[in-house]
């Protein structure tokens, strides 16, 4: 790891000042992603601003039944929170399906949202990677890309966003609150991450000097009947090949409300608006689920090593909705 300046920020104001003062600064949450990447010489911050002591650690119920989650709440704590478990099971399940117990104890909400891709060529400083070094090419396209995207990718980059939690939050219409020296703003989670286009190095809508302070999850009728289904190469401790976060409210056999987001298939948590459109108001039957899944994946494009994910995504959507209809939300 290369030498860097270390700043410990006690509060938000100090932190945002520190990152705006030092171009090339990086925030340190739990450090489980940033530190690894620094060791691999992929991240080379000049200054590391440690925010692990900033008191953004509350999980508070909002008057309307929603939740406000501080950016430094640890993943394991959020997953265990009684309100999350009872009213937003999809979020608890997504968190618990990620990484390992030790990592979740360290990982923060803000860090989880902004963790970088696990593309094998991104983390190997000797490979060509447009995300790491704009214009250098993309070794993943002709190489190993089992983890690669089938939706919204470009010839310049096929990386996926690895977070499980973010997929659940996308399905829950979460909003991210961001702070900088210029003030506070709110960004819908589904707009936080960008698709690669020809600028895969620009991964989010945030400026480098912005700090995530909180995530707000609005109340919803569907959320109580929600689930996270993660398909992966081993039973635990592996990233999603495909994941589905789904929440559904079925009234008299018809879909009154539905939210679906997909993970492992795109550079962002992929909100399945097409599938939702097909489902809303329709009968909650297997045939309709399949139709919805087909509609969502209609534009998917695969490469030899990840083409299977298109059918896998369809099947996982159907399976998750079926399970919700049969068993409800709790795991």
């Amino acid at each position: 790891m290369r030498p860097f300046e270390y700043v410990s920020a006690p509060d938000v104001a100090t932190a945002v000042r520190a990152i705006s003062d030092a171009p090339g600064a990086k925030l340190l949450g739990g450090g489980t992603n940033l530190v690894d990447l620094m060791r691999q010489d992929v991240e080379r911050p000049t200054t590391v601003v440690d925010i692990s002591g900033v008191p953004l650690t509350g999980v508070d119920e909002l008057p309307d039944g929603g939740l406000r989650i501080g950016a430094l709440v640890r993943n394991s704590r959020l997953a265990a929170h009684p309100v999350v478990r009872a009213r937003f099971p999809v979020l608890a399940q997504a968190l618990l399906s990620g990484a390992s117990g030790q990592l979740r104890n360290m990982a923060t909400v803000g860090g989880n949202l902004l963790q970088r891709t696990r593309c094998l060529y991104f983390v190997d400083a000797s490979a060509a990677c447009n995300k790491r070094e704009p214009g250098s090419g993309c070794d993943a396209v002709g190489g190993f890309h089992r983890g690669g995207a089938v939706l919204g990718a470009s010839e310049h980059c096929i990386a996926t966003h690895p977070s499980d939690m973010a997929v659940a939050l996308a399905a829950l219409d979460a909003v991210v609150e961001v702070e900088s020296v210029r003030g506070t703003r709110r960004v819908p989670l589904v707009e936080l991450h960008r698709l690669p286009g020809d600028t895969p190095h620009r991964e989010t809508e945030l400026e480098p000097d912005e700090l995530i302070t909180a995530v707000e999850v609005p109340a919803s009728t569907a959320a109580a009947t929600s689930r996270y289904r993660k398909v992966r190469d081993r039973a635990s401790f592996a990233f999603a090949l495909v994941s589905v976060a789904a929440a559904i409210d079925v009234q008299d056999g018809a879909v009154a409300a539905v939210r679906i987001a997909l993970g492992g298939v795109a550079a962002k948590p992929w909100r399945a608006y097409e599938a939702e459109r097909v489902l809303t108001g329709a009968r909650a039957t297997e045939a309709v689920f399949r139709e919805a899944a087909e509609a969502e994946l209609a534009g998917a494009v695969g490469l030899p090593g990840n083409e299977f994910k298109i059918e896998l995504a369809r099947r996982t959507i159907v399976a998750t909705l079926r399970q919700l209809r049969v068993e409800g939300g709790a795991a």
Binding site: M1, G143, D233, R234, S236, E311, L312
Partner: protein, 776 residues
């Protein structure tokens, strides 16, 4: 060499003693407390006051020449002591030519003389070493060494290189060929046949302890703490490479955190730590990162295999063809002998077994737990399952019907023959009789269930071992031998064997191991360590008992006066008449009494050979004896695996839900550690079946998943309860009846899983690992 060599421990028919009170029992590890309390020191944990830290710089081309190395920025990093490259490195001698007379000549993982050449032979080869006062400084500076290469054409695509193969050379892993009758012709006319191609990917050992070396020179004397499975090889190899006497080199590896073969050869980390210590004149610690282990320590080679079986409608095999192509490095490595079990396992009337290799510009491969059989059994045992389906014969029945009387390819006798028995036991424990052979016939909700079986087979080796046993007047015993405690419970096993051989309580025995100052032991490999040592320990204990008897025999008042060894049994801390009940008056004497009367404070026996000359001759004789022995007997550990898998019908996810393994491994020395070994092999086999694959980019020869996040070993959630049992009957041809259990249980696991997947889904997967995309 005219002088008569000293007799070394005989490989055949050593003294077989009755199983005593502690051999076989599930006693706790003698080093359990040291390990669980952090007292046991591993190679990277030895404190030296002026320790320095080393880090490697790896090439990122597969083949080429270094044109420039710019180390100025690295040298400028605070705390950096040296950046060693081929420009400034002291010369090391070349690796020796391999000779069967001295097995240590096989120690080198590769012919590449690191940092003594500008040539690059694989993507990841070390091209520089940075030594610094701190680990962080060493790693930071290593990133700053800028190397440029003239890239040369390289062959790095195993699939594309299938057109360019040659017959396998014999070697450490012993890729044998066999031919009996005209198997191809028999195949063509067989009433029922299967003929298919199977592939297995490269794999890496991934022991929990990454390779680490701490090296320290004092003049021409060298001390090395090394995570190794072969202390003696390391010592001899370093003596050659650094041109110093082996006697001045001390290699210490008291505890090693797993090896699986990956710590059997001498790899870059060890050599370069020693080289760096030479340069800096300071103690150097080289604790490899997981990535550096992947890039500098060979793994299991990828294979492409063909298995073709022909049979009559009665299921009896008329033809068995098993051929394989595996990759070797251009600078080292051996053929993966995939057909080795196929020479002995089933009674085929005609047989053809062949191994070929193709050279790649890659890090040389090496042995990994059950080289050959681990992946060869995937092809063979899958094919047998395919044949069972074709014949509509139960796969257990088909295998037992084909159990041979004698080894089909060479007519050798089996030292034990229990295939039918282990299958019968396993079937009973598993409930196999309830199986409906139709694929997709069993389910659990949305999950398809499948049951599969496969045979485990492994021939343990035996090597010469030196031990010393010292019996003190206070009744305590000290056993010394530089063997390897790589996590298997080796010291515990030898303590148990010694306790019974001398008839002393287990806690009277102390075992010292893992230090070249002790009598030399063989490498921990080939499932041979326990039996090899047992032969030497038994012989040493025998000598001690004879000497004690001789001392007692001289004393007219001794109850042992006039008795012969055959009249006695060792028990109760001494020698007692075998024909009277234990505890009877005047039936014998304790060692303490015998030694006290004789005025001796100890008796000591050393077995094996120690000086260099004798050791070479002794080894040659031993090898001759061992090979001769192998000419007579097929001595194999075997087993039957039964498993259940559940396959998600929607997603194709495969989970192993149940496992029963029944083994015949000869006598079991410690029921607890043996069960761990057998279970561990199954776990590792599940890894190979479902997840493990080293991703070698065919364009660049670079390993793209050099870490445990992306190299998918099984995690706890992937492993069901594993029911292991064994026959526990001594093998009449092996020391103490011990066969060796380190490898057998991985063999057949991947096939059992794939066979169960076929039963669950109707899909036959012939390429490992069985990932879900193959089942959609």
């Amino acid at each position: 060499m005219t002088q008569a060599p000293e007799r070394v421990s005989p490989p055949v028919e050593p003294p077989v003693v009755d199983s005593g009170p502690v051999v076989g029992r599930p006693v706790d590890r003698v080093d359990g407390t040291a390990k669980t309390s952090g007292q046991a020191r591993y190679s990277a944990e030895f404190p030296y006051p002026d320790i320095t830290h080393a880090a490697l710089v790896h090439a990122d081309v597969a083949r080429g020449r270094i044109t420039t190395i710019d180390s100025a920025d690295a040298e400028a990093v605070d705390g950096v002591l040296a950046v060693i490259t081929h420009r400034n490195a002291p010369k090391m001698a070349e690796a020796p030519k391999v000779s069967l007379l001295d097995l240590s000549t096989m120690a080198a993982g590769t012919r590449v003389n690191y940092l003594n050449t500008d040539e690059v032979h694989w993507n990841g080869q070390p091209v520089a070493v940075v030594v610094a006062e701190t680990l962080d400084a060493a790693h930071a500076a290593a990133r700053l060494v800028r190397v440029q290469y003239e890239a040369l054409p390289a062959v790095t695509d195993f699939a594309a290189a299938q057109g360019d193969t040659k017959p396998a050379k014999g070697g450490m892993m012993g890729a044998g060929e066999a031919k009996k009758g005209d198997a191809e012709a028999a195949l063509a006319t067989a009433p029922v046949s299967v003929d298919a191609t199977y592939t297995t990917p490269p794999q890496n050992h991934n022991a929990i302890e990454p390779h680490a070396t701490t090296a320290f020179w004092d003049g021409d004397e060298l001390t090395v703490h090394d995570a190794t499975q072969s202390i003696d090889w390391v010592r001899k190899h370093l003596a050659i490479r650094f041109k110093v006497p082996a006697a001045g080199i001390r290699v210490v590896a008291t505890y090693v955190g797993g090896g699986f073969g990956g710590k059997g050869s001498v790899w870059a980390g060890t050599l370069l730590a020693v080289l760096a210590a030479r340069v800096t004149k300071r103690p150097v610690r080289m604790a490899l990162t997981r990535e550096a282990v992947f890039r500098t320590v060979g793994g299991r080679a990828p294979t492409v295999q063909r298995v073709a079986l022909g049979a009559g409608h009665d299921g009896l095999l008329t033809a068995l063809v098993h051929t394989g192509v595996s990759a070797v490095g251009r600078t080292g490595g051996n053929a993966e002998p995939v057909g080795s079990q196929s020479q002995h396992l089933y009674a085929a009337r005609s047989v053809l077994i062949q191994h070929r290799t193709t050279e790649l510009d890659m890090l040389p491969n090496t042995f990994m737990r059950a080289p050959g059989e681990a992946v060869g059994s995937f092809a063979l045992e899958s094919a047998v399952d395919e044949l069972a389906v074709e014949l509509a014969i139960d796969p257990v029945e088909l295998r037992t019907r084909n159990e041979p009387e004698r080894s089909p390819t060479d007519g050798k006798r089996f030292s034990r023959q229990n295939l039918a028995r282990v299958y019968a036991d396993g079937a009973e424990r598993f409930g196999w009789a309830a199986r409906d052979p139709k694929p997709r016939s069993m389910r659990d909700g949305r999950r398809l269930l499948g049951w599969g079986v496969a045979t485990a087979f492994h021939m343990p080796i035996q090597l010469p071992a030196d031990v010393s046993v010292r019996l003190s007047a206070d009744g305590t015993v000290l056993v010394r031998s530089s063997f390897h405690e790589i996590g298997v419970g080796a010291a515990t096993a030898q303590a148990q064997i010694t306790a019974d051989a001398l008839g002393v309580p287990l806690d009277a025995v102390t075992v010292e191991h893992g230090d070249s100052d002790q009598p030399p032991a063989p490498m921990a490999g080939g499932s041979g360590q326990t039996a090899s040592l047992a032969a030497a320990v038994l012989q040493a204990c025998d000598r001690i008992k004879r000497e004690a008897l001789a001392l007692a025999g001289k004393a007219p008042g001794s109850p042992l006066h006039g008795l012969r060894p055959a009249d006695l049994r060792a028990t109760g801390g001494g020698l007692f008449r075998a024909d009277v009940p234990a505890g009877a008056e005047h039936a014998g004497e304790t060692y303490a009494d015998i030694l006290a009367r004789a005025g001796r404070d100890h008796l000591e026996a050393r077995t094996g050979s120690d000086n260099r000359f004798r050791s070479a001759v002794g080894q040659a004789r031993f090898m001759a004896g061992f090979l001769n022995d192998r000419r007579k007997w097929v001595r194999a550990a075997i087993g039957a695996h039964f498993c259940e898998v559940a396959v998600d019908e929607d997603t194709g996810e495969v989970r192993v839900t149940r496992w029963v393994g029944v083994f015949d491994v000869g006598r079991v020395v410690n029921a607890k550690t043996a069960a761990s070994q057998l279970r561990g092999g199954v776990v590792m086999g599940i890894g190979a079946a479902l997840g493990e694959e080293t991703l070698l980019d065919p364009r660049t020869g670079r390993i793209m998943n050099p870490g445990l996040g992306e190299y998918h070993l099984p995690v706890h959630a992937d492993v069901p309860r594993i029911d292991v049992s064994y026959l526990d009957e001594p093998d009449p041809t092996a020391p103490l009846g011990i066969l060796g259990i380190g490898e057998v249980s991985i063999v057949g696991v991947a096939a059992a899983v794939a066979n169960a997947v076929h039963h669950a889904t109707g899909v036959r997967v012939r390429d490992l690992p069985v990932t879900l995309d193959r089942l959609l």
